[in-house]
């Protein structure tokens, strides 16, 4: 917050009052390091070929997983109900859902990613075993659900129950980790747009995930991408499905608020 000194009688508000106002504003809404107008999707840092691949509904390899998920959405392998039996047409019922995730799960008292939410639904409502994390079936379902929110701006809810998790994740975001002794913020907040060898550092938004990464030759979740970042700074990787990764995704979603969901994205 900048307080500009006005010439003449402009500065009449006592400084203490300004500080109180500033304090309350930051308590309700943490300061954003990147102004909403300066937010840029990860794909805007990629080359024209990758951008074209993502934009082309058919050339985008992630659409294969969306297709897979669409079949699973309607499928019922036994007495249990299919996803569509309760949720109906995903185009209507799932529109905007991915833009609200990760979200706080009151029953489990934890942050739920979209993948974890789908598995919770399978176990709790469908009486089916949970799908393995990063399996093509789970990625397919989350890709199909997320694709219904394409273009919907990210907007998550952090109430007082989720606040401790959010604060933990924010502390993690600014903590230096690994042998390279780097924090997330040093690259994605202070140095985005600069280069590491031939790679342009992005702002680190997860709006393209679950997505297809050409480097992997495969489709993956945001957790997989985050683990790659841990590995990149030579830090110990948290397990798939860990609270640390879920909470970090909550913080990242808050950072990305306002950017449209673009899953299935394509990244280099």
């Amino acid at each position: 917050m900048t307080v500009r000194r006005e010439a003449g009688g402009g500065r009449r508000v006592p400084l203490a009052a300004l500080l109180v106002v500033a304090f309350h504003a930051s308590a309700a809404e943490p300061q954003r390091a990147i102004a909403p107008s300066a937010l840029r999707s990860g794909v805007s840092f990629a080359g024209a070929d990758v951008r074209a691949m993502q934009a082309d509904e058919f050339a985008n390899p992630g659409m294969l997983w969306v297709e897979r998920g669409a079949k699973l959405w309607r499928a019922s392998s036994g007495p249990e109900k299919s996803c569509s039996a309760c949720h109906g047409d995903a185009a209507a019922s799932m529109k905007g859902v991915a833009a609200r995730y990760p979200a706080w799960d009151a029953a489990g008292k934890r942050v739920l990613t979209l993948d974890a939410r789908i598995n919770a639904c399978r176990v709790g409502q469908q009486s089916l075993p949970a799908l393995a994390l990063e399996s093509d079936d789970l990625l397919g379902l989350s890709a199909y659900v997320a694709a219904q929110s394409r273009g919907v701006p990210v907007k998550i809810t952090i109430d007082e129950r989720a606040a401790p998790a959010f604060e933990r994740a924010r502390a993690l975001y600014y903590r230096r980790i690994g042998q390279f002794n780097l924090s997330c913020a040093q690259c994605h907040e202070q140095s985005w747009g600069k280069r590491i060898y031939r790679e342009t550092v992005s702002q680190g938004h997860g709006t393209g995930y679950p997505g297809y990464r050409l480097d992997w030759q495969a489709f993956g979740s945001l957790e997989r991408r985050l683990r790659a970042c841990y590995s990149g700074v030579r830090a110990e990787m948290p397990d798939y499905g860990s609270a640390e990764l879920a909470e970090l995704q909550l913080y990242l979603a808050w950072r990305a608020e306002g950017l449209p969901v673009e899953a299935p994205g394509v990244r280099r």
Partner: protein, 106 residues
């Protein structure tokens, strides 16, 4: 195996039209090793055939150099409405197929 095929909604008789197909497949090269140092056997979609009303119009033989989830595009012509049928097989012997109707307008 999940696959997607795309042809134009309608094609003009005798005019070339694009056919696109994408197949979900790992296309394991055979040059990689697992975490225990054991070679991962080669497994790629080695042959893909496309027939139009039973007549072969396109064939691809692929090897280790093709990226995962192969995406192919080619052009063909049609004299009358019919069915494009794709079939493919990988090194593990797993077969896949996909059909799509082509509507020809004069």
């Amino acid at each position: 195996m999940t696959a997607r095929v795309l042809v134009p909604k309608e094609v003009k008789r005798g005019a070339p039209f694009p056919v696109r197909i994408a197949i979900q497949h790992v296309m394991e090269t055979g040059f990689r090793y697992d975490l225990f140092g054991k070679p991962i056997p080669k497994n790629v979609v080695n042959t893909l055939v496309c027939r139009y009303d039973g007549v072969e119009v396109f064939r691809a033989e692929m090897g280790s150099g093709i990226a995962a989830n192969p995406y192919l595009q080619f052009y063909t012509v049609a004299g009358k409405s019919g069915e494009l049928e794709f079939s493919w097989v990988d090194d593990a012997g797993v077969e896949g197929s996909e059909r799509v109707m082509v509507t020809v307008v004069p």
